[in-house]
Symmetry: C2
Subunit: 362 residues, 2 copies
């Protein structure tokens, strides 16, 4: 794989990941952890997936509380490659600030934005999709990568494919008809049947200046503020808190799609956003030594008799006897036991702990 000229990777490293408690914590969110047992944190894997495409043209945008941890995990990044947000304002201000910084460094810069906490299993297919997307972005398109659904998921938004764009360097590219919100199961099943929908994986490839121009349509003030901060980072403290908390999907992608300005590269590369322990269970292979058990951590730390479970160990032995379909997550100070179909409710535990002022556990 050769690098893509002029492409910058922007990695928004945010989100609290409360549905992945007790691994993911307020002070140590999901992207800093090796959730899949790969030996690397999700952030580190994201860097490893992107660096062949962009070399050292990488910007990580993260919360001020996580800046040190990000720098420790990515010591190869220069000082300017990590941008700290004083407070979380969702994805638009984060990616928009990266765009404003990049257009100052390189007026022709194309950025690809890829979350720090997603998993991609087929790196080659991912690279091919980004290469096509970058080619389209250089032509002025806002490009998203639409992941082929493998099931009628209700956890993701969808992209409806339009006509082929007929671009030689991006042969699979299509126009985006629309972005649609997370559907119910019935609707999702219909989406799959038509073959005309892709998962919105939140991956955008776009010229830095193009992105700011699209954003300026509805949010001109935000663009002004972002460009001021990019020119003088000392203005971050006073301007950042005034920025609207908004996702890039709502601020730019959806209105631009409605205006026929968004392209999509459909692709299939084993993507997941690792949103909860149910998705983690699907991502990690079942143990060969322990049939029925998906172990995250050393398999020797699990003893299972007549049991099926996903077990994330935390340094102690976990013994299971006659239990089925469990999710067990053990950490130093907290233990979670649930079932895949209740994985979305894990955030309630964090809410309860917060309500009880037991934030040392959140």
């Amino acid at each position: 794989m050769t690098a893509i000229p002029g492409l910058w990777a922007v990695i928004p490293a945010g989100g609290s990941g409360t549905r992945l408690w007790p691994i993911s914590r307020r002070h140590s969110p999901k992207f800093l952890h090796d959730l899949t047992g790969s030996g690397q944190s999700l952030l580190r894997e994201t860097w490893g997936r992107l660096s062949p495409l962009v070399g050292d043209r990488i910007i990580v945008v993260t919360g001020a509380a996580h800046e040190d941890a990000v720098r420790r995990q990515l010591p190869m990044l220069g000082y300017d490659a990590v941008v700290a947000e004083p407070s979380p304002r969702d994805s638009m201000p984060a990616i928009g600030l990266a765009a404003a910084i990049l257009e100052r460094r390189d007026p022709e810069a194309v950025l690809g934005s890829f979350a720090a906490d997603h998993v991609v299993r087929d790196t080659d297919a991912f690279h091919r999709a980004v290469t096509e997307a970058a080619a389209l972005a250089r032509r002025g398109e806002l490009v998203t990568i639409g992941v082929e659904p493998t099931e009628p998921s209700t956890a993701f938004g969808y992209v409806r494919l339009g006509e082929s764009l007929g671009v030689d360097e991006a042969p699979s590219a299509r126009r985006v008809e629309e972005f649609v919100e997370k559907p119910d199961r019935e609707t999702a099943t219909r989406y799959l049947t038509t073959g005309e929908y892709r998962w919105n994986a939140g991956m955008f490839v776009v010229g830095a200046t193009t992105l700011l121009e699209l954003l300026a349509v509805d949010h001109a003030d935000m663009v002004d503020s972002l460009r001021i901060i990019a020119a003088d980072p000392r203005r971050m403290r006073d301007l950042w808190p005034s920025l609207q908390k908004i996702a890039i999907d709502h601020a730019v992608a959806e209105p631009a799609a409605a205006a026929g300005r968004v392209a999509v590269v459909p692709a299939s590369f084993g993507w997941d956003d690792v949103g909860d322990f149910a998705s983690l269970t699907r991502l990690v292979a079942e143990s060969t030594a322990l049939p029925g058990i998906t172990a995250i951590g050393p398999e020797d730390d699990v003893i299972a008799i007549d049991s099926t479970a996903m077990v994330a160990t935390g340094g102690r032995l976990v013994a299971l006897i006659g239990v089925d379909d469990l999710v067990v997550v053990d950490t130093q100070d907290a233990l979670l036991i649930t079932r895949p179909d209740r994985a979305q409710d894990v955030k309630k535990v964090v809410e309860m702990l917060t309500a009880q002022n037991r934030t040392e556990l959140t």
Copy 2:
């Protein structure tokens, strides 16, 4: 409650309790632990139940490995009150040695043998039963206390009641027709229906010399050895290993019952041998703050959403979401998750760990 003249309490504190792993360990067996959340270990509770009856006339027989722990938990006992076995040889040598020691101290001594790891909820009823049993023992009987069954348990042996003895000081006393082994469920149900069966709780009250005479019928060599050791404890090392490993039930109670020599005081005092986590679940009251949860340890350490479980905490938070009928036992280095109906299989984990040479966890 006044003390019973001439009665000595003998507390066999042995057994590995592998079905209560990971709380009960090789080096720290069940009787040393506060299994029920009462604030005291089972051994300490046993002492507290017996001392009103016997004052300081107590002998604890335990394994050499546990002698120090027993002395730490019962610092009020004199040096001679703790007898250490060099190796486990089941209950007959342990209780027989106590009898041989006691007959030297007091030829009229009556001993009551009560395991260190059982639970009794109605202490007054227990005291009344022991008082009757001691009166019979002074008349030369081998007396057992027969616990009224509250369910058709297949985990206990049973005692079949015979004719009333018509003794004024022990009005409820009956002859023992026979001891029967742990029955199957159908047989146990029939036992309950007849009303003529009691649980064999392994509680024996008998004159020290009477016990040794009964033992001498089939095991004269053992009696000789026990009396030699009692006279000269230095002989423990060479004689103890040669003693037959045998339970008092088989060595004395069953043959004596067949010869019409055993009496029983039927009683009802909320007894359990805390054999496994299923029995522990029945013993401990459900939490009022957490419906469906039986917590052993601080209730604040459990968060439960739509769950039912017995949870023994180990200092960390345990969060349950949408799980039912679980047994969760958390300790510093090992976590067990099972179901009440698999409680008997917990010992298999200990067997597996032993086979894997991971005895630091057993």
